[in-house]
Amino acid sequence: MTSKTLVSATINGEPVEFLCEPHQSLLECLRNVLGLTGTKEGCNDGNCGACSVLLDGQLVNSCLVLGVEIEGRAVTTVEGLADWRGLHPIQQAFLEADGFQCGFCTPGILIATKALLDRKPNPTEAEIRTWLSGNLCRCTGYDKIVRAVQAAARHLNVAGQEVNE
């Protein structure tokens, strides 16, 4: 047996310390060590995107990151999207546009959408579809997801303008 390592990181804006073994993925650490079960496990091999999180702002599959690798780094999970004001505009847009059915893919798709809109506030439909190609959904047929992302982009852009005015 290998010994446990103490990892210090920032998760959803909060400083966190936890113990894990080197072979535990970030996904396992989030769900089984830290109790953050919003991030889902689908394939555990990088294909489905259910485990998507932001690592220092970049989109990654947490099943292909080791827990020990996040030492000193910042992770955002779906639990970090809403704040005291309520749901994040992306979450609100998915709710209003029926961007999910069973909801299993949704945490990963919300995080992937955040990564996209942080980088590109006005993506085209083709850009949205390409960006989300690593996030599989067995229910919606994707069209409603794309509409939800477009609605989220509009809401965020309007909110951004109001802040600037």
Binding site: P22, N61, C63, L64, L66, A112, A115, L116, W131, S133
Partner: protein, 295 residues
């Protein structure tokens, strides 16, 4: 996954010492997008993973019009896709690194990992071969360089000796009137492994009327990525016409040694080599002339 020890050295010397220690079976760990998947399937059970993402030399991109491009082995595909000089001067390499996985894979999958994994379908490898890239290695007995064309020797096998680490990849400076293109066929638009792929690189004479040099390399149609020297040589001295490209594509088809598997049949792969080689040559020609490539 079997337990292992995790080490994240900050220098090449430390990493090589860990990898070369006979007391412990250690393996380099970059993005983990091949390695962790293979370890979960039980293909390897290393006793130690040596994370190479904290070693400065492996995590930088250096470009200079005279020296060319040096890419650290642990640079993920997304950094290359975002690098203005790489986009401008090495479009044929961007063709390949921009299609490895989806967005999330792109932030982890490295160029070094793609090469060292030595999959016949590794998309960046034919692109690096046609650009004339070399691999810089460091090991317990010193440093050496190996042409990327000679790096892979069998599926999953490379020329790396025990304890050796890939440090960086060097791509020669982009000469004027040269252009490269990499294309692959997959059933989906994204997130799939090549059924077949082709990379092409061309150099033109001053008046654009003659091909002065050419290289063609293929993926997923042989046990390793395949440099078809004869296909490139057949183009030298010829005008860059559709007829010349058809001839070169035929040579590439003959050189391919495809198998039938879940992704496609040998016959389909051989057919694809013809189509993709012709299209890659057309794209390389457009770029060599300074035109945009739409195909």
């Amino acid at each position: 996954m079997q337990p292992f020890i995790y080490q994240a050295p900050t220098s090449v010397g430390e990493a090589v010492a860990l990898l070369a220690d006979p007391a412990c079976r250690a393996r380099p760990f970059a993005g983990g997008t091949d390695l962790l998947v293979q370890m979960r399937r039980g293909l390897f059970a290393p006793e130690m993973l040596v994370d190479v993402k904290r070693i400065p030399e492996l995590n930088r991109i250096d470009f200079d019009l005279v020296e060319g491009l040096t890419i650290g082995a642990a640079v993920p595909c997304a950094w290359l896709c975002d690098h203005p000089a790489v986009r401008q001067h090495y479009a044929g390499l961007i063709d390949a690194v921009s299609i490895i996985g989806g967005t999330a894979i792109q932030w982890r999958a490295t160029l070094g990992g793609n090469l060292c994994n030595a999959a016949p379908s590794g998309d960046s490898i034919p692109a690096l071969i046609v650009l004339g890239a070399t691999a810089m290695l460091a090991g317990p007995h010193g440093a050496r360089t190996v042409p990327v064309a000679d790096f892979c020797i069998a599926p999953g096998k490379t020329v790396l000796r025990p304890g050796e680490l890939l440090i960086s990849l060097h791509v020669p400076s982009p000469a004027t009137r040269t252009g490269a293109r990499y294309l692959r066929f997959i059933p989906r638009g994204e997130m799939d492994i090549a059924v077949a792929g082709a990379g092409a690189w061309l150099a033109l004479s001053n008046d654009h009327a003659t091909i002065t040099d050419a290289r063609i390399a293929l993926s997923a149609v042989a046990p390793t990525p395949l440099w078809v020297k004869a296909a490139g040589e057949a183009l030298i001295g010829k005008p860059p016409t559709a007829e010349a490209f058809v001839e070169a594509a035929k040579i590439a088809q003959e050189a391919a040694r495809p198998i039938s598997d879940v992704r496609g049949t040998a016959a389909q792969r051989r057919h694809l080599v013809g189509v993709l080689t012709r299209r890659a040559l057309r794209g390389a020609l457009q770029r060599a002339k300074g035109e945009a490539c739409h195909d």
